[in-house]
Each structure stands twice: as structure tokens, then as C-alpha cells.
């Protein structure tokens, strides 16, 4: 579907379905329905890591690395809010090195609000959100330097990462920081598994915020995305079954899910 400029009728229906699922879950959660969220060891480790920093009196690092303003950043901000709130409660030092100036404004606002929620608004230090560089490896070297100087007790690497992922994670490993990483970049997951104590893979990043905060809107989004994913899994199963049956039942070819999804508006007869 890469490079698709306009939606097909099939995609439009799927998008409207996604909107409906989100609306339905928001209504249910709003009415008091309680969703069960499975435990994720990596998310539990976030709280433990901040607690460990409190015992050792060390600072906490959080980076969104190359993440630009978008859904992934907002998912990261949810986790950052929870971490910053705990950092404020435990009177620790938080460092959030920045790559993207646009993201920095949102990050600063989130951390400021977390401190306010913790009742320690005056303790917020704007210098803890430090812009390093918009160049990938200049950012990585700045992060390394900061990590070695501060000797962080815990580091959280959340968001979109590229080749600098291992450089960042190794810097934390070298100073003995307890690290939790979460990435939607599958290529970098292997590096994080090798260097971090816990790694959240793909969508777990989006679930982490809901798991930590248990806020109704976030939980409803998580429930909606799970149901939407279930629909896609069913679509895949149906597609595989139809593709398997096609040699014996050639007439089903036009009804295969991928054909229906890619059928253009012009193919519809009104």
C-alpha cells in the first residue's frame, strides 16, 4: 500500500470502522466498563528503575530520539508523563535530551505538567529538556557525553530509532544504567534486546502509557486497537484460506480481501 495517494472504497470503510471502534470503546469506558490489561514486564520495570534511582540518588534519562511530532511521540509522551511524575515525587533529576525542536516544545510541556501533577511545579527545571542537535550522530555523541557525565541510574529509550540506537543504548550500558527501550522500528529491536534490560516491541510502546496511567481515554484506545487488530488477523486468515482454495474454486478470486481492498472507485457501478 506504500505510496497510495487516495483511499479506495475498501480502505475508506476500514478507516470508518476504526473510527467507530474507537467511539464505541470510549462510550463503554465512559459508562464505567473495566478493561483488563495484561501485565508487561518491561512496563513494570519502568517503575522499578525509577525507584532504584531514588535509592542510589542517580538521575533518570528519557529520550524520544528521532521521533518527530506524530502518534508515536504522543504515545511516548504518555510514558514520559508517568515517569516525570514519579521523578518529581522522588525528588530525582530528569534529563530529556532532544533531537527534534518541534517535539521539544511538547516534551517540555508534558514534563512541566507532570511536575505540576506531582505537586512540585517549582522543582521543574527547563534545562533538563536539552536540545542537542537535529543531526543523527551529533545527537548520539551529545547523548553519550551527557550520559557519561551524569552517570544515570536509569535510561528509557522510547520512540523511533535508526542507526544511533545501539550507540545510545551502549552509552547507558557502559555507565551501568538500568535501561528500558521501546521502539516501533523493527530493525532496532534486536539491538535493544542485546543492550537493554527490557524491550517493548512495536505496539507495546502504545500500550505502555495506558498500562501505567490507567486513564480511561488511553485504555479505550488500547481496547479499540486490539479489536481492530483482531479484525485484521481475521482478514489475514480469510485471505490465506481463500488463496488456498482458489485452485479448486477459481470464482472466488475477485472476492479475495486484498482485491476488495485495492478496488478503485472507478470499478464501482452506481
Amino acid at each position: 500500500m506504500g505510496g497510495l495517494e487516495h483511499a479506495t472504497p475498501g480502505i475508506l470503510i476500514v478507516l470508518l470502522g476504526a473510527c467507530y471502534l474507537l467511539y464505541r470503546e470510549l462510550r463503554r469506558v465512559g459508562a464505567g466498563y473495566h478493561h483488563y490489561i495484561r501485565r508487561i514486564a518491561g512496563v513494570d520495570a519502568i517503575e522499578g528503575s525509577v525507584g532504584r534511582c531514588a535509592e542510589q540518588g542517580k538521575s533518570v534519562f528519557f529520550t524520544t530520539a528521532l521521533t518527530d511530532v506524530g502518534p508515536v511521540l504522543f504515545a511516548c509522551l504518555g510514558v514520559l508523563h508517568s515517569i516525570a511524575k514519579r521523578v518529581a515525587q522522588y525528588k530525582l533529576k530528569l534529563q530529556v535530551p532532544q533531537y527534534s525542536p518541534e517535539a521539544m516544545a511538547l516534551v517540555e510541556d508534558t514534563v512541566r505538567e507532570a511536575y505540576r501533577d506531582a505537586g512540585r511545579a517549582n522543582a521543574f527545571d527547563p534545562e533538563s529538556i536539552r536540545f542537542l542537535s537535529s543531526e543523527q550522530f551529533a545527537f548520539a555523541s551529545g547523548y553519550m557525553g551527557l550520559m557519561h557525565r551524569e552517570k544515570a541510574g536509569a535510561a528509557f529509550l522510547f520512540g523511533v530509532f535508526a542507526a544511533e540506537a545501539l550507540v545510545l543504548a551502549e552509552a547507558g550500558q557502559q555507565v551501568g544504567a538500568r535501561q528500558v527501550a521501546a521502539s516501533v522500528s523493527p530493525e532496532q529491536v534486536a539491538f535493544f534486546i542485546c543492550t537493554c534490560e527490557y524491550t517493548l516491541i512495536g505496539e507495546e510502546l502504545f500500550g505502555a502509557s495506558a498500562y501505567m496511567s490507567r486513564e480511561p481515554v488511553q485504555v479505550a484506545t488500547l481496547a479499540a486497537q486490539d479489536r481492530f487488530k483482531l479484525f485484521f488477523i481475521l482478514l489475514i486468515v480469510v485471505g490465506v484460506a481463500m488463496a488456498t482454495l482458489q485452485p479448486w474454486v477459481p470464482d472466488i478470486a475477485p472476492y479475495m480481501p486484498h482485491r476488495l481492498m485495492t478496488r478503485d472507485w472507478s470499478s464501482l457501478s452506481w
Binding site: 495517494e5 487516495h6 483511499a7 480502505i11 475508506l12 476504526a18 474507537l22 470510549l26 462510550r27 465512559g30 511530532v69 502518534p71 508515536v72 504522543f74 504515545a75 504518555g78 508523563h81 532532544q98 525542536p101 518541534e102 521539544m104 516544545a105 508534558t110 505538567e113 507532570a114 505540576r116 527547563p126 534545562e127 529538556i129 536539552r130 536540545f131 537535529s134 543531526e135 543523527q136 550522530f137 551529533a138 555523541s141 545501539l166 550507540v167 551502549e170 516501533v184 523493527p186 529491536v189 539491538f191 542485546c194 543492550t195 516491541i201 512495536g202 505496539e203 502504545f206 496511567s213 480511561p216 481515554v217 488511553q218 484506545t221 479499540a224 486497537q225 481492530f228 487488530k229 485484521f232
Partner: protein, 339 residues
């Protein structure tokens, strides 16, 4: 829907703009191409998208401000590490100054070259439209004389003794081409045939091309350009490459830690890595004939399946969050509710 209360006007305006921006891009995506074309959005879409990029570019100032605030404070109050901060600020402003000077110089060269290029382009246009006499030809003659005089004076800006041998050769070639063009009857004749115009256009293009090479060669020797080359190619690119090279060492260190066979998972990971590495080199084929195929299978089947699963899950989660952002259905932590 559970929409957080927005007590202040600022939050309402932000939500309104978010919604309007979202609805534009959503409509552009879901409407059929024919509808988008018929209502005239298609041709303006690029401009609208660029407008959003411009808004994003304004945030660059935030980064600069943050650096100046963080390090400027350190320098002013002479806090610990203030010398490093001073070095950073000097480097920052020095780089901004040199980059700006280089950019302005390059812009001037490009404008001068464009002026000369216009001679050939104008002549080609007249030729294409079969115009061989009248006001357009007089305009071409006047413009050509003016630009050739200007180019001749500009290439003599630096004394010959200061030119390298290569630059001297370029200058001689360019001067000869300009003289040839001046000698062309077209600059003085009233009636011109198409063949003469075609020859003039071709010679004018050659002059523009040689002029561009000569001007670029001249500017490469300036102090500003040398400083720019030193900072960008000599320092910035090299330091970036050095950081990238560190990855090799880190991969080995991380692999050593991860591949110590202590659990079934790490044993599986190590076996897969060994097969992929051996399948990549010719020695692997000596050990087992099917090693490259096994490597290929590992990468294309289990590895691709895992990649697709991660991408599908993240994509769906991203879509849901994007809908939530578009409609500003945010939880309390991101609302503007101030306590």
C-alpha cells in the same frame, strides 16, 4: 465522547486548527482522485503541504533558543563546565556566520550565472518561435551586450597572478568564447536567419556553461569557502563517520553479551546469527552446501514475519492514536487543564 474540558481559548483554538488540518488531509486522502481534481484541490495540495512544513520549520528557532539559554546561563554565571559551554557557543555562532557567508556567496554566483544563461535560453526561445526580427531581437541584442560586458568585468575581478594554472586555462577559454560570441554578427545585424540564431543560441549556452565552471572554481578558493569546507567536510562529516564507525565495536560488545548461551532464547538467537553470518560468506558454503539458502530462508520467512507483525501492530496503534489526536480526544494529562 470523552473530551477533556478546555477552559481557555488558546486550547480551543489549538483544537479547532488541529481538527481543520486533520479534516483537510483526511478528505484529500479519502476522496477519489477525480473529485479532488474537479474541485481544484489537487493543484494546490503541494502548496498547502509546504505551508505546514513552513510552520514546522519555525520550531527550529526553539532548538537554537534552548541551546543559547542552557549554555549562555552557564557562561554568564560561570557555572561548572562553563568553558565547554563557551566553546560550544563560539563554535555555534562561528559556524552560523561562515555558513551564512558561504550561502550568500553561492547565491550571488548562482544569480550571475543565471543572468548569462538567460542569453542562450532567450535565443533558444526565439528560435523555437521562429522570431528572427523586430523588437524581441533588439531586446536579445541589448541584453546580450549588457550581460557579456558584466561577465567580462567579473571574470577580471581577480588579477591573473592570483589564479591557479587550471583557473587561468578556464579563464582563457571563457574569454575566447565571449569574444567569439561578441564577434557573432547577430549582436549588430537587423535581419537574422534561423540558422544564425541557432548558432548564437548554442554558443551562448557554451559561454554560460564555461562561466559557471569558472565562477565556481573562483569561489572555491575563497577564505569563506575554505572555512566552510573545513567545518563541513573536514570536521562535521568526519566526526559523523567516526560516530557511525563506533557501531562496529558496539555491535561486537552487544553481541557478546546477548549471545552467551544461558537460556533457550539466547541459544536460538545465537544459532540464527551464526547461520546468517556463515551464509553470508563463501566459507559457509564449504561447511554446508545449503548454508546460503538457509540464511535466505531465515531472513525471508521468520524474520519477515516478525517484522510484518511489529509493523502491523504499530501501524494500527498509530492509526488509533492519530484519530484521537485529530479529534483532540485527550486524557487529562495532555489537556490544558491547569491546576
Amino acid at each position: 465522547m470523552v473530551v477533556a474540558n478546555a477552559p481557555d481559548t488558546r486550547a480551543k483554538i489549538i483544537r479547532l486548527f488541529t481538527f481543520l488540518g486533520g479534516i483537510y488531509f483526511f478528505s484529500y486522502f479519502v476522496l477519489p482522485e477525480s473529485v479532488v481534481e474537479s474541485i481544484g484541490i489537487k493543484e494546490r495540495h503541494e502548496q498547502i503541504s509546504n505551508g505546514f512544513i513552513v510552520v514546522g520549520a519555525m520550531a527550529l528557532g526553539l532548538g537554537l533558543f534552548n541551546i543559547i539559554r542552557a549554555h549562555g546561563t552557564k557562561v554568564v554565571f560561570q557555572r561548572s563546565g562553563w568553558r565547554n559551554s563557551l566553546a560550544l557557543l563560539v563554535g555555534l555562532f562561528g559556524t552560523i556566520g561562515i555558513m551564512s557567508a558561504q550561502w550568500i556567496g553561492a547565491l550571488q554566483v548562482s544569480r550571475d550565472v543565471q543572468d548569462v544563461q538567460m542569453i542562450g535560453e532567450y535565443a533558444s526561445k526565439l528560435m523555437a518561435e521562429k522570431i528572427t526580427q523586430g523588437a524581441p531581437i533588439s531586446m536579445l541584442q541589448g541584453y546580450s551586450k549588457e550581460q557579456l560586458d558584466r561577465a567580462s568585468s567579473l571574470i577580471k575581478v581577480r588579477p591573473e597572478s592570483q589564479l591557479t594554472s587550471a583557473q587561468r586555462l578556464l579563464e582563457q577559454d571563457l574569454s575566447r568564447k565571449i569574444s567569439d560570441l561578441r564577434a557573432d554578427g547577430l549582436l549588430t545585424r537587423v535581419d537574422i536567419d534561423e540558422q544564425a540564431l541557432a548558432g548564437f543560441a548554442q554558443r551562448a549556452h557554451e559561454v554560460a556553461s564555461s562561466y559557471s565552471v569558472f565562477r565556481q572554481s573562483l569561489s572555491s578558493g575563497t577564505t569563506v569557502q575554505r572555512l566552510y569546507d573545513f567545518l563541513y567536510d573536514g570536521l562535521f562529516n568526519q566526526l559523523g563517520s567516526a560516530m557511525f564507525a563506533l557501531l562496529g565495536v558496539y555491535i561486537a560488545a552487544a553481541a557478546y553479551r546477548a549471545f552467551r548461551v544461558r537460556t533457550i532464547e539466547s541459544a536460538l538467537m545465537m544459532s540464527a546469527a551464526v547461520i546468517v553470518m556463515l551464509g553470508q560468506i563463501s566459507f559457509g558454503k564449504e561447511i554446508y552446501e545449503g548454508m546460503p539458502s538457509l540464511r535466505q530462508w531465515l531472513l525471508e520467512v521468520p524474520n519477515s514475519a516478525a517484522f510484518r507483525a511489529i509493523r502491523l501492530g504499530a501501524g494500527i496503534a498509530g492509526l488509533m492514536l492519530a484519530i484521537r489526536m485529530w479529534l483532540s480526544i485527550e486524557s487529562k494529562s495532555f489537556s490544558s487543564e491547569k491546576k
